[in-house]
């Protein structure tokens, strides 16, 4: 299964999906100029990954998606929700699939946004606190 690596820019997050190394991370600020195009690539990869998991017995170990946003705009919110819904679908077939939602310990809005995403996408999140400097607690 191919990797998906997208470098962080001033307005778009880093994406690092690497099944061989068990790393599935999105991190940074999300307000890319073309939000649909940016997330279509990610969701397209997720569809391929889902097909790969269904047809391959090679993959072992948990699939933990780490969503670690500093900020996302309203358009990105729609596509992040779509992403989470896809992960929820993936979870039906691959039990040890999860979403870890990262937030700064004093960022209640980001925590609440995660709770809303989890509820709407119908998948429980694990919530990971970071200290205000961005380090995981």
């Amino acid at each position: 299964m191919r990797k998906l690596i997208v470098n962080r820019t001033s307005n778009s997050p880093e994406v690092h999906f690497d099944p061989a190394n068990g790393r599935y991370d999105i991190s940074g600020e999300s307000r890319p100029p073309n939000v649909p195009a940016f997330y279509d690539e990610i969701i397209g990869w997720l569809n391929d990954f889902s097909s790969y998991l269904s047809s391959s017995s090679d993959h072992k170990g948990p699939v933990e998606f780490n969503l670690d946003f500093d900020y996302f705009n309203s358009s990105s919110a729609k596509y992040i929700l779509d992403f989470c819904k896809k992960v929820a679908t993936l979870r039906v077939n691959v039990e040890n699939t999860s979403i870890r939602w990262h937030y700064e310990s004093d960022d209640i809005d980001m925590l609440e946004a995660g709770k809303e995403m989890s509820r709407m996408a119908r998948i429980p999140f694990d919530y990971v606190q970071k200290d205000p400097d961005g380090k995981r607690i």
């Binding site: 307005n11 705009n73 309203s74 358009s75």
Partner: protein
């Protein structure tokens, strides 16, 4: 005596590079760094939506032909931070935008959250321009209604200014 301080003041064309530049200016301004972090994140979110609205709704070939150009200011007076963002829009689009703002303003938080949820779960068409999510977020983040002024420029264009106030949390 009420002191006021300016976080951001810009008039001119707006594109995505300019948004990056303006947001950096905002984040680095001494005034912005002096407000509490929670309020700062809300102000930042509203400013992003305002600037992106300018790109989505501005008349593409209007800037440069006539004044006024797009503009954004962020000012703090006492414990109120006021974001004003304006741009020329098609006269034909004005009614729908105003209708959307009034509809959002008429909702309480629960109803507005339900409206946001309904919209975010819909499939977007190519020309939806966010389907009003940005305006809903402005009210939800600020906790206040969105005020606006519409000025007629000519028979084809109006100038729309949005005014959003955020109350700084007192620690």
């Amino acid at each position: 005596m009420n002191e006021s301080s300016e976080f951001l003041n810009y008039t001119g064309p707006v594109d995505y590079n300019k948004i990056d530049f303006l947001l950096n200016d905002l984040k680095e301004s001494r005034e912005f760094l002096n407000i509490d972090k929670d309020t700062g994140k809300r102000v930042y979110a509203i400013v992003v939506e305002c600037l992106e609205n300018i790109i989505k709704y501005s008349i593409k070939d209007f800037a440069g032909k006539m004044n006024p150009e797009p503009a954004i200011t962020v000012l703090k007076q006492s414990d109120i931070i006021t974001i004003k963002a304006g741009n020329a829009i098609e006269a034909d689009e004005t009614g729908e935008i105003i209708h959307n703002i009034n509809r959002i303003n008429s909702q309480d938080d629960n109803a507005l959250n339900a409206m946001f949820e309904k919209t975010i779960n819909k499939s977007f068409e190519k020309d939806d321009k966010g389907a009003g999510l940005g305006l809903m977020l402005m009210k939800l983040k600020s906790g206040n209604n969105i005020s606006f002024n519409v000025t007629r420029l000519d028979s084809h264009y109006n100038y729309l200014e949005l005014i959003i106030s955020v109350n700084e949390y007192l620690v």
